[in-house]
Amino acid sequence: MNHNSLDIKNNPYLINCAAKVPVREFEAQLNQSSLIAAAGFQEAPTLSEINERDSKRSEIVKAQVPQTKVHDSLMLSKIEAAESSGLKEAYQTALAGQRLTGEQGLMLLESGDLNLLGWLATKAKERFHPQGKVSYLLDRNINYTNICRVGCDFCAFYRRGHEADSYVLPKEQIWKKIEETIEVGGTGTLMQGGVNPHLKIEYYEDLFKSIKERYKIHLHALSVIEIEGIAQVSRLSVEETLERLKAAGLDSIPGAGAEILADEIRLEQSPVKRHSHRWISVMQAAHRANLPTTATMMFGALEERKHIIEHILRIRDAQDETNGFYAFILWTFQGEHTELLKKNPDLQQTSGAEYLRVLAVSRLMMDNIPNIQGSWVTMGPKIGQISLHYGANDMGSIMIEENVVSAAGTSFSLDRKNMVELIRRAGFTPVQRDTYYNILTEHEETH
């Protein structure tokens, strides 16, 4: 078995997502002691191993949990006192761990009590992650080219190709960046660039193979629009493109560019990018090609709450079919210097309460995606930390910056220290994970 890839068909946690069984197995897999080792990829345990370990652990967990909880009675009385029978039903559905309808999700988002949502979302999170662990990733963003034929209004990064600062990074430079990443304990790269019309599939095949021959590193790369671009210039179908990229070493695809999957809003935000069903269908094609992906949502830009729910439903439905999303990532719109903000000067930044509500409702509705990230990058470290009590089980990536790595990794290690402390102070055990959410290192208690 290729250790660097996630085999969707045989992966126990994904199988269980489909069957809508609480995914204890996945947690058990995370706790496998052989996984808590130095960075590197390990073989997944067999189902029987997982079941055995899980039953042992659930006994221990039961013995440790006190029987009385103030919280529960307080929250149950809040549910009883819900302002409408529909809302009460939505709370009860969520509490029972059953699937919420779109209407119920919308009701929770619009009139759910923030504390109650946090309590319910934490319960939903514990179905996937009962052990109070919060993960983070060490990886490096490599923008292999800035030449792009799309050129979105909100982007300051792209070049047309004739400018002096247009670039396609030489392989040697990419290798060097990867070496630096591995040196400081990083386990993955996030490679994205422009939609460069000069780069055909052979370029990517050659690049990915050259990386995989040299390094044990996870390749989380490209985006829907890049994949479509490659298919187009190489005169291939999306399916063929994905097959070949995977064969060359691509491990997974980031779910960027999803923005809000409601067409009326999407058109307003980035008219050039494809309609939402295109995004979903490329992602699903990737899943069918055994390439797992993440899914993202960017909100706080013009959409209404019903659009947020629509987005969640679309991803949930797609997941029911192909079961390849292993994480859901929420971002809030960052307005500065964008055309969108110029056109809509009254647009307010997403508030803390709104973000936590959206996060909690996402956790409650996404009963088939195991991981949800809290975004300290867009919401700041404070709300990022608080989000761990509203359904998030992951803090995302500590991106290794260029200058930082060259400065011998000192300030980088401070970032890591801060991340670990942030998670610990929120009451959780910090763990470093790989891109597939396997636990690599568990940080010990300091006291």
């Binding site: 909880k69 919280h71 307080l74 504390n115 608080i386 102070r425 929120a426 009451g427």
Partner: protein, 394 residues
């Protein structure tokens, strides 16, 4: 006059009040559960119980209990006021290690407003709909009681309806010693000039083992409490604060709250308790981090639970940022402070929250949290309840 003493400290001197290790996670959890049940029954919590709450693993639970206690007192109303800060001078005789605001005479950036400058600010405040000016500043070595009286008179002459909430206990103590008068007499003169109430600054942390490390030249904790007691006995209401997130331990925080609770039992003169998150830039304590979001929320929640004789707990957005301050409205806070034009003290210490929030923004933030905005006066009389967004402009 009987004075407040800190002779029976709630915290063993210099020791960290951390629950015993041998206690075990389960026993600790049950202690927390018992404390929360007690709080919900309306009973008063002890020092140990207060400390245990800070060690609660379940943030949302703490918040739900604090929120229930808050809603019993205040319903869904959240207060704010339209105010303006005037920091008359940053020249200060003290050298508190956490302060980024103070300057020595002749230092670059040292300033002291003239009466005209104060009048101008008061005028702008009144024109923008403010009902209060909040004035605190450094201990200017050359300013006398007369200067302070003039500052108040200037504001009152410019805009008679503005409530003057001015001068911390630290400034009052300094003035009294300089003038060789009692604090009572100083307060009488200031009140005659138009002083309306006292702000809550300068309390920092009362516990001596912390205070001596962060501001050894400042008024002591006992001194601070005594001055507020004096004010309360004269009928002047006041606020109280706690500076947290620096070198203090949890015990010192709970101790601080209990001392305030005891004085409130005696005088009932505090309007509101305001936890202030430490700002890490430009200080001498060597602390380079902002407080944690979870810690901000816990501190608000524990304050709500411990301070059973306070009606109002403020989540001061200048210190924690707007997002956390808003979230805190579900953790026991029922006040977002005000529009705060020109806040300088936290700003110079690295607050990321900016210096002003428009009234429309405050209304939006409170409503977005599912609460009803109520504009209040300085002493918490409701001025207007904004329960219909369509009528905001009227």
């Amino acid at each position: 006059m009987e004075s407040v003493t800190c002779s029976a400290p709630h915290v063993p001197h210099g020791r960290h009040a951390v629950p015993q290790k041998s206690q075990g996670a389960r026993a600790r959890y049950q202690e927390i559960q018992r404390a929360l049940e007690k709080a919900l029954r309306g009973e008063r919590l002890s020092f140990d119980e207060g400390v245990s709450l800070f060690y609660s693993p379940d943030l949302v639970e703490l918040g739900a209990v604090a929120d229930a206690l808050n809603q019993k007192k205040n319903g869904r109303d959240v207060y704010f006021n339209v105010n303006r800060h005037i920091n008359p001078t940053n020249i200060c005789a003290l050298s508190c290690k956490f302060c980024a605001f103070s300057r020595k005479p002749g230092d670059e950036g040292a300033y002291a407003y003239s009466e005209d400058e104060i009048a101008h600010r008061a005028k702008v405040a009144a024109e923008s709909g403010a009902t209060e000016v909040h004035m605190v500043g450094g201990l200017h070595p050359r300013w006398k009681l007369e200067n302070y009286k003039n500052i108040i008179r200037t504001v009152k002459a410019t805009a008679p309806h503005l409530h003057v909430k001015a001068f911390t206990a630290v400034e009052l103590d300094w003035l009294a010693r300089k003038e060789r008068k009692t604090v009572h007499d100083v307060l009488c003169e200031l009140r005659d000039s138009g002083l309306g109430s006292l702000p809550g600054g300068g309390a920092e942390i009362f516990a001596p083992y912390v205070r001596e490390k962060i501001c050894d030249t400042k008024l002591t904790g006992e001194g601070w409490l005594n001055i507020h007691k004096t004010a309360h006995q004269m009928g002047l209401r006041s606020n109280c604060t706690m500076l947290y997130g620096h070198i203090e331990d949890i015990g010192a925080r709970v101790d601080h709250m209990i001392r305030l609770r005891e004085l409130q039992d005696e005088t009932n003169g505090f309007n509101v308790f305001i936890p202030l998150a430490f700002q890490p830039e430009n200080n001498e304590l060597g602390i380079d981090r902002h407080t944690y979001g979870v810690d901000d929320l816990k501190t608000i929640a524990v304050a709500r639970i411990m301070l059973d004789n306070f009606k109002h707990i403020k989540s001061y957005w200048v210190m924690t940022g707007e997002r956390v301050a808003q979230t805190a409205l579900h953790y026991g806070a029922n006040d977002l402070d005000g529009t705060v034009v020109e806040e300088k003290i936290a700003n110079m210490a690295g607050s990321r929250a900016g210096m002003a929030m428009a009234k429309s923004r405050i209304l939006g933030v409170i409503r977005d949290a599912g609460r009803i905005p109520v504009e209040r006066s300085t002493v918490y009389e409701p001025i207007r309840r904004y329960d219909n967004p369509a009528e905001d402009q009227q």
